[in-house]
């Protein structure tokens, strides 16, 4: 019998599908709802030290084959998030919980990591690539090699035994090079890719940008080829497990990311297009693929496209 279970570094997921950060990730109850629909792991909304309301609306806009968003890192703060993580873990013992985090400074990344680590998430995912807060926080840290190295090393130190993933985008320089910096400074995994852009939409009646932040990150099926290419590059650059995401809406899409080098696959925007049943549908599609090809599990095709 083929199995969907995957080994992601030291972690074991019952399904390779991961709820991406930013989607239904604020409360234990919403995360539990997704867990019950077939995700192997769920990721919290990126969490900072203090509560944050994010940008005013509009924050999320549908576009052809995708979404443009600038939510602005709204989150309940690290202490409140720890309560949600603990509640989730007691309610959903078989689904892994990944805690996404960000900081306004290098030091703050370490502080948030230390706070969240106390709640014992299964993984810390370090968001150094949010494209939607640069007017306030400057360029994302992934764009600055020295800071990227420092954040990786600091979070790794504060995380104790908890594995650390760095979440990268393709927006600020060569992703393979950024992944190498993360690897050299102790990262256990790479998550790729964050939303693309930033982009902008203008309303032609009021003649101004629609997003309150003016610009936002693009996600959804329209970025899938960019994600496939980026994961391919990361796989060539570093020998770390990859959580691949970007526009996945079917098992076929998920397999492309896996063959480019991803071990686990994030799903986010497709929840909007296809609803929460998507996780189960993609799981079934992956099982069919394994059966058709006579494979035991997905590790046999991870990175297969590299030959």
């Amino acid at each position: 019998m083929p199995s969907l279970a995957v080994r992601l570094g030291l972690l074991r997921l019952e399904s390779p599908l991961v709820l991406a950060s930013g989607i239904l990730g604020v409360s234990a109850s919403s995360l539990a709802l997704v867990a019950s629909r077939g995700a192997g792991a769920v990721t919290t909304k990126s969490c900072g030290l203090d509560p944050r309301a994010g940008h005013p609306g509009p924050t999320v806009l549908p576009v052809t084959e995708g979404l443009l968003n600038a939510v602005g890192l709204s989150n309940p703060g690290a202490d409140a998030m720890c309560e949600e993580i603990r509640e989730f873990k007691s309610r959903c013992p078989t689904t892994l919980l990944f805690a996404s985090l960000f900081g306004r400074t290098v030091e703050e990344f370490g502080e948030v990591a230390a706070h969240l680590a106390a709640a014992e998430p299964d993984l810390l995912e370090v968001n150094v690539s949010c494209p939607n807060v640069s007017s306030e926080l400057g360029l994302p840290f992934e764009a600055k090699s020295k800071e990227l190295a420092a954040i990786t090393a600091l979070v790794k130190k504060k995380a104790g035994d908890i594995p650390v993933a760095l979440k990268l985008s393709i927006n600020w320089g060569p992703i393979g090079e950024q992944a190498r910096i993360c690897a050299e400074n102790g990262a256990d995994l790479i998550t790729a890719i964050n939303t693309v852009g930033p982009g902008m939409l203008i309303d032609t009646n009021v003649m101004r940008p629609v997003l309150s932040n003016q610009v936002g990150g693009l996600s959804g099926p329209c970025i899938l080829p960019l994600a496939v290419r980026a994961i391919w590059e990361v796989r060539r650059s570093v020998d770390l497990p990859i959580i691949g995401l970007g526009g996945v809406a079917s098992s076929e899409d998920a397999l492309q990311l896996i063959m480019a080098g991803a071990t686990a696959v994030g799903i986010g925007t497709a929840v909007y297009h296809q609803g929460l049943d998507l996780f189960e549908r993609v799981n079934q599609g992956l099982l069919r693929f394994l059966a058709e090809k006579g494979l035991e599990d997905l590790s046999e095709v991870c990175g297969a496209a590299h030959g």
Partner: protein
């Protein structure tokens, strides 16, 4: 795509009282179910969810009470200005015969739409409208003109003196209603749910939570417990769905996603 932002002009504005207005918009929605909501964008300010208070050939009507910075800014909007609309979103009320509609304060808005829609379908409906004082009621002349509508106010300035829960038993006895549909402040909704279920009625409540995306992604409007998304599976929940809500009538989450402390 109904989910995309569409800007339309304000066609008419009705001022019901201080800080209480209804806006008639020129489109852009062709059909919606009573209880569904739209995201309303005031360019340069913010975007917030509002129930539809009527929808017909005249256009889309949204009734607004000024309670915060956004709704106060909306009070400054003039006829001819552009507002943005996304939606309609969510799941509305079930349209069924022998339903008692109960609205409190600005919560009357979606029930105005529901009552009209039920009338069009020739379904029997009774309406109870509760306000603190006469100045809090939208379209007072309209509601006074309805044969099956009872108005109550806390100070007796319009209709009977009292609150909606004082009169519900009486209406159920008189009208033989089998369903209850309610919108308004959550403590009132919880009391109505308890009362309705005690009388064997099928209950639907129109709940509110902080909403940001409106399309089931951000998670801020997920109720505690079942995690149900009010912007997709709600905002109208049935008795069975309400049993999965652990924060009903209790403090819920703010824009950061944090549970508020103290009473809501």
């Amino acid at each position: 795509m109904g989910d995309a932002m569409r800007t339309v002009r304000v066609k008419a504005i009705v001022e019901h009282g201080p800080g209480l207005k209804s806006f008639l918009l020129d489109g852009p929605i062709e059909s919606a179910a009573p209880g569904q909501f739209v995201m309303l964008w005031l360019p340069g300010i913010d975007e917030k969810p509002f129930s539809i208070s009527d929808l017909g050939e005249a256009g889309l009507e949204i009734s607004v009470k000024a309670v915060g910075p956004f709704t106060r800014a909306l009070m400054e909007v003039s006829v001819g200005d552009y507002l943005g609309i996304r939606g309609p979103f969510g799941k509305g009320f079930r349209l069924a015969d022998r339903t008692l509609l109960v609205g409190g304060g600005i919560g009357v808005a979606p029930l105005r739409f529901l009552y009209r829609e039920m009338g069009r379908l020739r379904l029997s409906a009774w309406l109870v409208v509760g306000v603190r004082t006469a100045a809090d009621l939208i379209f007072p002349d309209y509601f006074r003109s309805l044969p099956d509508c009872l108005i109550v106010s806390e100070d007796g300035s319009i209709g009977e003196t009292g609150i909606v829960t004082d009169v519900i038993d009486r209406i159920i006895d008189q009208a033989g209603t089998t369903r209850l549909a309610a919108a308004g402040p959550e403590p009132m909704l919880v009391a109505l749910r308890d009362l309705g279920e005690r009388r064997g009625l099928k209950v639907e409540l129109d709940l509110e939570r902080y909403m940001k995306c409106g399309i089931g992604l951000c998670g801020l409007c997920c109720v505690d417990g079942s995690g149900v998304r009010l912007c997709v599976e709600g905002p109208v929940l049935s008795s069975a769905e309400l049993r999965g809500v652990t924060d009903l009538g209790r403090p819920h989450r703010d824009a950061t996603g944090r549970r508020r402390c103290g009473p809501d």
